[in-house]
Structure formats: structure tokens, C-alpha cells
């Protein structure tokens, strides 16, 4: 990864850990993966979290909370890949982007309607919706995009 920027290297380690295990690394683990001292892992984690890429730490901690399309905290958007439920999506819209980090694989999203509580199921592969139950699924966000950064976990 020597030709990649520091931010790209940090991104790849976290993304790949999430893809493989469904869990984000702590900065101590990040440091090991980068072959760097612990304090360097801490710095590089915080540098990436300050980037406009919409990832964030749990407030007041150094624990990765969200790293799109993944959430490191359970959400109502449960994601299965090739039949294994190991991941959570950052939000409903990001659940639709999960298939891009699992190319060629069938990604299933199981969730519940935020209004009625009834179940929803979507299957996608490489951007194609293979199945949507029911066929009437809608998406919605009630906050204008310009305000998402002000309260991104809520948006």
C-alpha cells in the first residue's frame, strides 16, 4: 500500500476489517495492522474521522461508531452476505450501498418499517435489486441534505 496516502491506508484497514468480521478495529489494532506505534494508530484514526467522508466515533470515545456503509453499533438494518448475518448498515440508504463493498455477492437487508413495524426484506447484487418484499418499499429522510452534517447520526 506504499503508493497510497496515509488516509487511504487507514481507510483500507478499517473497511477490510469490517468486511471480514462486521466489527471495526480499535486504534491499537489499527496501529498493528499499519505497522505503526500505538500513538500513530490513534492519530491516524482521528485524522480519518476528521475527513468529510461521513464516518464518526462514539461521542467522547475513540471507538468507531459508524463507517459507511457499515455501522459498528447494531442498527435496525441487518445485513447478510451469502446467507451470513454479520453486519449492520449505517442507515437505510447506506444499506442499499452495502452491495458495493461485497462485489459479486448477494447482500440481504432485513429491517422493519419505521412507521408500521412490519418487516422489509431486500436482496441486492452489484447494485441490482433482486428482491424487495413488499414491492412497495419507500425511502425517506426528514432533514434537508445541507443539515446532515450537523447531526449525522440522526439524519
Amino acid at each position: 500500500m506504499s503508493e497510497l496516502s496515509e488516509l487511504d491506508q487507514t481507510y483500507c484497514v478499517i473497511r477490510d476489517r469490517l468486511r471480514e468480521t462486521g466489527q471495526a478495529p480499535h486504534y491499537t489494532e489499527l496501529a498493528v495492522a499499519l505497522g505503526a506505534p500505538v500513538r500513530e494508530g490513534y492519530r491516524r484514526l482521528h485524522d480519518l474521522m476528521a475527513h468529510p467522508y461521513p464516518c464518526w466515533l462514539h461521542p467522547g470515545t475513540d471507538w468507531i461508531a459508524s463507517f459507511p456503509p457499515f455501522s459498528n453499533i447494531p442498527t435496525q438494518y441487518r445485513v447478510s452476505v451469502e446467507g451470513q448475518q454479520r453486519w449492520f448498515a449505517q442507515c437505510g440508504f447506506e444499506s442499499l450501498a452495502m452491495c458495493w463493498v461485497f462485489p459479486g455477492k448477494t447482500v440481504r437487508i432485513d429491517t422493519r418499517c419505521l412507521s408500521s413495524g412490519k418487516s422489509l426484506r431486500i436482496e441486492m447484487r452489484d447494485g441490482k435489486v433482486l428482491l424487495a418484499e413488499p414491492g412497495t418499499i419507500y425511502g425517506y429522510v426528514n432533514l434537508p441534505m445541507a443539515k446532515w452534517r450537523e447531526n449525522i447520526p440522526y439524519a
Binding site: M1, L4, S5, L7, D8, T10, Y11, C12, R15, L48, A50, H51, P52, Y53, P68, P69, Y77, C91, G92, F93, E94, S95, L96, A97, W100, V101, P103, I109, T111, C113, L114, S115, S116, K118, L120, I122, M124, G127, V129, A132, P134, T136, I137, Y138, G139, Y140, V141, N142, P144, M145, A146, K147, W148, R149, A155
Partner: protein
């Protein structure tokens, strides 16, 4: 950024805001929006470097979908200088 069983369920949601019509979209339109290069490129190792150049496509697509009649999807202000 949530998913609902139907358009009726969106409108019946306790947190639905009446001035947000441009965000009420069927699954296929949100799937299109979350399929622009910004999302497809996340599997590439130089994604963070490329991130700033990948955003404009979103607003072109929203325009095509007829979703830019209000300010709802206007881009966020640039982040403060560090």
C-alpha cells in the same frame, strides 16, 4: 435515512415533515442514488483521496429524477478549514 413499507407509511410516520416531498422516493430511486460512483468506489483502495471528486454526480442524478425543485437536496456547505 430510513426505509418504509410504502409511501403511505412514510406519510404516516410520526416524524414526517410536510415540507420534505422531494425526499419521498421509491426504493428504486434511492437504490440509483446510492449507486453513483461515490458508493461504487468504496471498494477501491484510493477511495478517500478520490472522495471530493465523486460527489457532483449525485446532484446531476437528482436533477434527472426531478428532485431539485426545492432546496431539500442542496449540497451541504463546505467543511470548515482545519
Amino acid at each position: 435515512m430510513n426505509l418504509f413499507r410504502s409511501e403511505e407509511d412514510v406519510r404516516a410516520w410520526a416524524d414526517f415533515q410536510p415540507d420534505t416531498e422531494e425526499a419521498v422516493m421509491p426504493l428504486r430511486e434511492y437504490a440509483q442514488l446510492w449507486a453513483i460512483e461515490n458508493y461504487r468506489a468504496r471498494i477501491q483502495d484510493d477511495y478517500v483521496t478520490r472522495f471530493p471528486t465523486l460527489q457532483a454526480e449525485r446532484w446531476v442524478l437528482l436533477e434527472k429524477l426531478g428532485r431539485r425543485k426545492t432546496h431539500f437536496w442542496d449540497p451541504p456547505p463546505p467543511p470548515p478549514a482545519r
